[in-house]
Structure formats: structure tokens, C-alpha cells
Point group: C2
Chain length 355, copies 2
Amino acid sequence: MAKQIKIKDIAAMAGVSVGTVDRVLHNRGNVSERSLKAIEQVLAETGYKYNIHTSAISLKKEYNIAITTPIAVKGEYWGAVRDGIMHAINEYSDIKLNCTFFFYNQFDIYSCRSSFESILEQSPDAVIIGPTFKSETQRLCKELDDKHIPYVFVDAVIEGTSPVSTYSTDQYACGQLLGRMLDTFTPEDSEFAIMSSQRIGNERSSNSLARKKGFQDYFRSKGMQNRIHETSFSVLDPAESERKVLSFLNENPKIKGMAIMNSRGYILADILRKNGIKEICLISFDLTQNNIKGIKDGTIGAILCQRPELQGFHALKSLIRQLLYNQKEETVNHTMPIDIIVRENLPYYREFFEM
Amino acid sequence: MAKQIKIKDIAAMAGVSVGTVDRVLHNRGNVSERSLKAIEQVLAETGYKYNIHTSAISLKKEYNIAITTPIAVKGEYWGAVRDGIMHAINEYSDIKLNCTFFFYNQFDIYSCRSSFESILEQSPDAVIIGPTFKSETQRLCKELDDKHIPYVFVDAVIEGTSPVSTYSTDQYACGQLLGRMLDTFTPEDSEFAIMSSQRIGNERSSNSLARKKGFQDYFRSKGMQNRIHETSFSVLDPAESERKVLSFLNENPKIKGMAIMNSRGYILADILRKNGIKEICLISFDLTQNNIKGIKDGTIGAILCQRPELQGFHALKSLIRQLLYNQKEETVNHTMPIDIIVRENLPYYREFFEM
DNA sequence: GTTATATTTGTGTACGTGCACAAATATAGT
DNA sequence: ACTATATTTGTGCACGTACACAAATATAAC
């Protein structure tokens, strides 16, 4: 409740006019060395803070923001990220934001390339990236760096880039947590399965790999690495998958815990449900519509979530701060909480974020 | 990005001046029946939304807000609630808020009475209540209702009151979740203990009671109610408590799960640690400094949390909406998520709210 | 119908910042 | 020293809302 310092005050203290202070605050240039120094000094001393409210209403500029993520489907992971972004757009409805979504197929590198090309073509003021393909993303970021276009990451961080900030989860910790949970949820001497879902080709996301490593390391640290089995199933051929999974479980009857490193747990849940298998504890990722169903009827024991809405929300908020106020928050990695969701606390995990 | 409708537009459409529209929006009275109807009609049709930014800067009025909760200690539950409130105060630093905290001792009804009296005396514009004593709180609310002073609840809801909104957790669900967790975390045929912490007198918070009921119902629904034991220990006399707990465990050697319905789990954790008891899974509430220690060294198996910061944050935000924009959001009960925190996901549960 | 009073309505200024444009000053070229 | 040009600085209006105050209209009393 201390009295806020205004631009007018800064100007008076530095012995210049408000216009000059404004130029400094917005890096608009055309300021003499002497004025610059004086103003910066005063700014540092007083710890001036923008009045978001007034700057928002006075703002004439329209910002073009490009958002590129895997295709956002309602009720799925990237859909939730988009919801968070939309929520932020709504909250900042006074700022003229021109947001364009460039969705790509995360299993098709060409679609990713074409999205990225379109982005560079339109030359936006800032970009939100939900990355999948590493070198493609690095290439995009390099171009953005050259053009001095700021960008933020959601969901994952790509090395060798310089984003304004990133919003992601510690996937290795997710894997460890997953291991710990399966371990405690199952009887002693149980064995465990890592289920890999496959599509065409055998692309693996780096998120899945990090999770898997954490999972394996958990059991390794307990000297239980020999209790882990691994198999794969096809996302696109349910019948074939069912046969494969059942015969796998037949061959390994001691398996009581089942882990999958992505959000496809519901496919396994369908198989378990259909065949009345109840003694296996299945844990999946992401609070998607399909997985919620599994949680409700008990075919999925638990879900690990990483607050996709919050990620999207903060990503846009961070960009706005960057664009409007030049707040260079030296590339912080914001690591989101990992929520554990089971049947009993499911109803309360609605998009309760907004903070 | 649709063009926002302004007060000026409303005025033109209703055939009146902006001043009259302003009077309607702020319930300032002195408006003729005819104008009122016309304006309300237009408002309903257009779905006018305040521009928070501009209304904040133009606002001259200073709002006095009273906040009364049990004593807020840094690192404990009510400390976190206060942190959330402070966070909201900070976010709305442009609005002239005069917040006064009236802390009371939650184990002393007289201190509560005196706090409430002070509040009524200062006659604030709005109140945030973290309730403990039911009839005291009801009495306060009755007076506030008479004076048309809006109030919100955090942490718990008191029946027979009419708050603007409430931010709390479903304690019964917490208890059920606790039961489910202890059940799955322990070997078959385990028995369970409900540990009640006692102070002077035997006051029990309604939160604890609801949790306990949920806990018992979980086991009842599984036909396992006979596996629950119950005992109590003193918060104020650690040595005596230690003796009591140890002898209790001796008498009931099959106990492998231990539940406490409040945040005092760390006291039990100390006993377990000191005596090298490792086969018992202890679950407590609230992410307090003391409990965090137990989680880290494994003496506490898990903690259930109810986002106290978020509760405080939203409580104040809700009041601001009420005061500034008269948004009567018909007494919604906002039920917070119940977070499950174990060692692996602990590091990421920092006050990550801000949304 | 006239005056006094109460009620309703409209107008104008302030809030703090963004930005366009005009004014002032510095620099370079002759 | 005098233009011409480039650089730097200051001024003023706009943004949409809150609110004080003046103006207009309605109501009451005689």
C-alpha cells in the first residue's frame, strides 16, 4: 500500500520529460547517453513498477502471437494446453492480441516443418512452442533468435535454444514417482511392465524416454531392475494389441503393475476391462477424457498430471510481460507440480488454475 | 478479440448519459424507473463487461478489508493462507486496499470473540473469514449480514451464513482418499490407526471430524471397519505421547498404517524416526515445514494438501470482484483439489499458483 | 401559477501510460 | 557562420471508467 512511483516522478527526478522516460522504458532508442544513464539510475533506485492497468488501456499496438503445438484435441493433453492459453487471452482481453495457432501432426515431421515455415513467414511478435522434433525446433529457434522474436516453451525444453522462459515438468522425476507408486500399490514380489505404444515408425518422444529412465532408475536403486518387463503395442490396431498384451501377461503372470510413459493408458484400460483383469494396477499420464473414464471405473489406478492448462496460461502471460514490459526474466525453467490423481480426488481437479 | 462494448455505447443504446449508466452499474441509486429498466435491458442484451484496467485507475475509493483466521505462522497452514492473500494484494496493488489481519487463537474461544468484536467495531467494507468456532462465526456473520458487509470463507464453510463465496476442500473426500491410500500402501491384512492429537480441553475441528468420517466410511464400505484402531496423544507433552504411542503400537502389532486428521503428523513422525520404526506408513495433512521434513526422510509416507495459498488468493480476488463490480456470483462453493504429495513430487509443489 | 425542494440527469475532469507530432538541440557540410 | 540534416526532447491527446458538481426536470406546498 506504499505509494506507487509514476513515470512522471521518474521524469522529475531524472530532470527530463515523461516522453524520454517512456523511450527508455520501451527501448525505443533516440535517447542521449546522458539522459539514458540518469533515467536508468533513477529507475534502479526507485524500483519503478509498471501500472499494468493503465499501460494496457493506452496500448495502441497490436501483437501477433504464433502458437505452435501438436494438434490440440478437446479433452486431451494439447487441448488442455490450448485451454490455458485461451484463458490467458481472455484474462488479457484488453490487450490487442492476434493469436494464430499453427498445429502440426506430432507424428509427421513434414507437417511440423511446414508449420514452422508458416510461422517464419508471418514473422510474429512472439511465439509459443510446444516442441516435438528436436532439430526442427532448434532450427526454428535459431531463426527466431536472428529476428529477435521472443519465444517460450511449453511441455518440454529443447537444448541449444534461448527462450524467454519455459513451462514444463521434470519428466525424470515423473518416472521415478511412477516407479515408486507402482511399487507401493502392488503386493511384494510383484513384477512390472513398461508398455510402449507404437505408431508408424518408431519415433519416441524425449519426454517418454526421460520418464522411462526415471522409472528404471527407481527400480535399479532398489535392486529390482530384473522385475521390469517391457513390451509394445500398436495404437492403431486394437485387436492385434489386445492379443499381444494378453499373451504378454500370460507369459509373465507375476506382473501386477503396468506403466505407460504417455497418455495412452486408456487403450490398456480397455483391454483390462474387457477381459475382467482386476489385479493389475495400471498407471498412465495426463488427465484426458479417456483416462478419466478408466480412473472412474477402476481400470486405471492412478494418473500423473503436469498441469497443462497452467503451462499454457503462464506461457502466454510470460510473453505478454516480455512484450509489454521488457521484463527479461533470465530464462527461468518453471517446473510444474506433478499431480497424482486417483478416483477419490478426481472430481476436484477441474481446471482450477486462474491464479 | 471481438470489440468490447463500452459504457459510452451502453449509454447511447439506452438513450441516457454515461453518468446514469454508471449509477446503475454501481447501485448508486437516484435513477428513475424508466432509465433503470432501459439500461438493465441493454446491459443484459450486450453482456457488458467491465474493463478492470480502467476502472482500477479511476477508482478513488479506499476499501477496508478485515481478515480473520487462526494465527498465521510462517510455514504452517494458516501462514500459507495468508501468503495467498498477500499475493492477491500484491497483484491488485493498484486498488487501494487497506487490509487488516485479526488473528485469533484457534484453541481459545475468547480470543476469537475479541477478534470478531474488533472487526465489527471497525466496520470494514468486506471480510475474509477462516472459521473455527461455529456459533461465534454464525453470530459474526449475522451482524455482517445486517450491516450488508460481504464476506467470504476460506478453509471451511459454516452453515446458516450467506457468504459471497467460499473456498474450501471436501473434507469427507479427503478422509476417503486417506483411507484408500493407507489401504493400498500397506500389505494385506494390515490394521490401521487413527491418531487424534489433543490439547487442553477436547475441542475437535469439524474438518477433522469430516475427514475421520470419510476415512471410516472407506473401510466400512470394504467391510474392514474392524481393522481400525483409535488412540490419542498430547500435542503439548511429547515424552508422554511417545510412551503412549509406543505402547499402543505394541498392543496392536498388525498396525501398518497410521492416519492423523490434521497437520500434526510430524509429531508422530518424530516418534517413528526416534525409535527406528520403518514398516509403518504415516499419512498426514498439510504441506507444513515440519511435515516436509518427514516426507523427505521417509517417516511420513504421504501428505494430503488443499492448496491454502490458492484459497487465500481467490478469497481476496472474489471480494474485490464483489466490491468493485458487484458481481453477485450466487454463493459458489469452490472446492479445491486435494493434492497427494510424496517424496518424489515434493520439490515441485512450491507456491505455484499465481493464475 | 409560483416558489421551494427533491429527484434525476448530464458534463467535465482525473487517473497513469502510450505514442504521434512538434519543438529544440546537436552535428555535418560547405 | 549558415544551411541542411540528424538526433534528442517535450507536449498533448487518447484510452475507458469513477465521481464530483452543475444542470435539468419532477414533485410538493401554497
